[in-house]
Amino acid sequence: MADRRRAVSKGHSPPPVDDGGLKVTQGAGKGKRVMGGKPQQGDVQMADAGQQQAALPPNAAPSGRIPIPRSQVRLPLEVATHLECRWRDDKYYPARIIERRKADEGGPDAYEYYVHYRKFNRRMDEWVELSNFNLDTVCPPEPPEPGEGGGGGRTRNQRRKVDDDHSEEEGEGHEDFDPQQLREHEEFTKVKNIERIELGRFEMETWYYSPFPPEYRECKKLYFCEYDLHFFKQRHQMLRHLRKVKLLHPPGTEIYRNGNISMFEVDGRKGKSFCQNLCYLAKLFLDHKTLYYDVDLFLFYVMCECDERGAHVVGYFSKEKASEEGFNLACILTLPAYQRRGYGKFLISFSYELSKIEGKVGTPERPLSDLGLVSYRSHWTRVLLNILKASEGSISIKDLSDMTMFKTDDIISTLQHLNMIQYCKGQHVICAAPHVIEDHLRKCGSLGLEVDPTKIVWCPFDARADYQIVRG
């Protein structure tokens, strides 16, 4: 299966990139996190990843661990073993075995291993075969466990505590959960339950665990209806469902259309089925998203590419109907197949356009994912520097906030990140030297797909009007 995966990677070039696209989100409820970002930093054009050779040193053994001689390596390998594993670029990277299972083929002693590449985000975790490992680099789990390694989750859980290199993904934001269950949950979600999905034109490998209903959890592949996002275990079921579907766009209000791009606003309460499906789907690509709460209190802004086959969902962001903390965005996601087209930036920009119409300063719900942070930084940078470039004299952070609807904290954070807030004669000043600005602007990439504010037909969510409608 690893071979197949690699073949897939090689055989297809990642979409051309002009900048990253995707990102994250959260789903419903109190979800937490926005993630997102573009996969690629800066305006660097990415070439086909499959053909690229990674520049990482291939022999970067896990620091502090000394490999044991090949002759002492015993099969099957234990969970929590550190070793190098061949990635899709045919380079070897340090990795850690998270789980193992009997392989479908290859005899009774054949195992597959679920590995985490320590240099990559968890989304790159995958099942591989033994042949992908460099067995000269095996570092047994420490401390070594006497028993068989492939046992139940408890023992793995204990072992995992020994490891420290995975901690960045764990734990934040789940205060509502029972600790014991949370541990089990983390344990369970270490391994993707759904390995791949088919959605419309693309089949995508998933990134993270998603809490699908129990009957779907054992499926390696799910088939999503492109229009209403119903998912099926088998393709012919999806196709049969497709024949019934008449609604070729999300069940909401179209609030923006420019060229073939449309934005639909779907009320979580009215389009509950669609929104829940969207959340299930989004969780496959978002690590820090929770489906803990229902979608009622959120509005979903779904971005679609429209053609003669209908409106194809390419990404979305969700937004609380009434956010106490001034969030104008909860989760944001560009589906992997549509990333690097500037859609992520479009969604971010769109969220601020809505904030302008509302007249409310907004900020994304935290925390941001790696991709989300990169995307947001780049958006803030681009917008702010363009304003500074055109400004003279002096300008306050509040002025910038009023112009952009960025929260002042975000503005300060961005300028600080760019090292543009300096002192002059003991006073804070903004360092706006033209060449510095140009430099930063070049680095933060293209504008992506631009939002045309004149084409937004939208009025802010009005709880009272909504209530009236509900009461009839």
Binding site: V8, G37, A49, E172, G393
Partner: protein, 701 residues
Amino acid sequence: MSRAFRARPLDVTRPLELILDLDLLDSTEGLPARDVVHNHAALDAENEKPKMIQHATGKEIPIPGIIRIPTYGTDYLPVRRERNTYIRPKGGVGYEDPILVEYDLDAEDEAWLKKYNGNEPERLSEEKFEMMLWRLETSNAAATDRVLTISGATPAEKVSVAACAITDHMPREEALQMLEETCSARDTIRADVYNYWLARRKALGRPLMRRLMAVTPVNDNNPYNVFRPRERVHRPATRRRRENNSDSLEKLRMIRENVLKGLDILECLVKRERKKRDLVYVETDMQQLQIKQRHEPRAMQEQIEAEYAAAARSKNPKRPIGFDRLPEAAPPTTNMLLDFKAKKNKKRKKFGEVPLLHAVSHLQPPPVGQQPGLPFTAQPVELAALSLHDGGDLGQHLKLPPRQQAAAPDGGVWAPRIGRGARLIVDRCRPLDRFWHEPGTPEQQQEGAAAAAAAAAGGDAAAAPASSGGGGKADKGGPGGKQQQQKKAAGAAAAPATADVGEDGIKVERQQQGSPAAQQRNGSEGGAATPDGTSQQQQQTGKEGSGPSWSWDKPLWEQPNPYSQWLNKPDLAQAALTRLASTPAAVAANPPTTVLKNRSPAAALLAGSPGIASAATPGAAAAAAGTPATTAASRPAAAGAGGAAGGAGRPPLPAAAAPAAAAAGQKATPGTAGSARRDSRRPPKTAAQKSNLGPGTNGST
């Protein structure tokens, strides 16, 4: 430039100069970091760090793979017709396609259907099967909802797991009827599908369609379960909808009416009070006039009458003549409501009168009379005024023993004060700041005397039966009390033998310190007496038991002081004082009558001890509220202002007083009866035991 930089928060409202020339910036080399503090710093810090992969052409964050579906072009057909307008849902209720069959067959349904169709594929089509299952699901849900609504179920109950699992509310006949109406299929097929559906529902225990399934309960914290409804309390306050309808308007209107009616009533009240006031004014004027008519010279009569007549005719209420310079009672008000009301009283305003309600709105509260002082609190008395020093009038009158400088080294021993009922109490020192000359209690002294008497009588203490009717007293002492009594009895019995016995007695008693034995001192103090007091008593008892120097022939103040070793111990005295002061029971148990009658030899003994003060007025003991002063004052009361018997005398106790004294815990018996009385406080049964007690035993029973 100064190096004392520190991070300063950035003022977001302050314009920041845009510096185009980097050379103008302050050098930051060598300076501590001056990062601007912003709220998101902590949040950003916990973000995941992008883990990039370096390529020849740059870096990227790698993502898992994507492939295209080759059959997409045929799976999805190009049937969409683009509209020129933005797509809007109809009716504001979202997009619901009423003809969409929501149910999709799953693998199990397909297997059943395949088996059911067997060789004739068109017996039941997939589409029809889906339709029938969908109808069954939705109809069942509707039926359940209907039933639950009638039974008054809450919305939460309607979506509970139990409610969603019910299939009983749609009877079979009704279901088949429904299928007949909505799906054209043969009866047998309908029945089979229904049976299949029912079996499947029962097997699953939940609806087939996800939309109809129970929602995750709010209190379910299993992270695998998703999409909990958010509780109302968790909803943002901004979403709380406040009713603003005609009901609210009506309510508010009624409140306003009620308030205005209340104001009207108040107004009438004020009117009435004004009338009454005016009546008083008139009355006053009238009387003044009459007085003046009677006493003023006739020549002034006319003028006076004219003056009062004018006052009477005056339209505006006016204070009586001679009283009109008093300040106005009601200053103007700023109360909005009253102002509003006042505005309506235009007629009154015309007269320039303060609006009625204003008259009451700012009236001062009636003055509160000065709280009378507590009549019986202890008031210090100027000692000098009493001439209480040697040879002073009062001193002589009271026949106080001469004050002994040795016992009161600090001088100023007397601290007279006024007690309850204007009794004069003379403390031997000022409470709390002078050493207290612990006088012991009447019982002790009695016992001491009794011991002496017993010694003289040959030590037959056991011979004294509990004869004097004070038997009720014994139980108050508790075990400790009994022990002590026995000890004393032993000491008393052994007294004739040697002085050593007495010392033993002292030791024993000290071991008993901390027991409630002290109750003996004042039988009704309820155990509040202190160990210190106890030890003092015992020591005293022991000494008296050995009593070598006591002489009945000498005046009391010439007797040796049995307490000398306890003198000048302010800490002990202070502790005893503090504890005694907290036992008001002592007061109640010390009726003045008892005190007065407490003229026993013991009292004489006490009075005779150096430095002991005597009490003054009758009943002073009770007024002293349980302090040692009480007892000190009460005994010599003998000599009290009541002028009964002399302090040194040993008048026989009136017979009638004995039972009362015993009941009150005061042993006041004639000296000869001492031993009997003491024994009487012990339960009769202990008499035999007592005889067995040797000197120095603990006397434990």
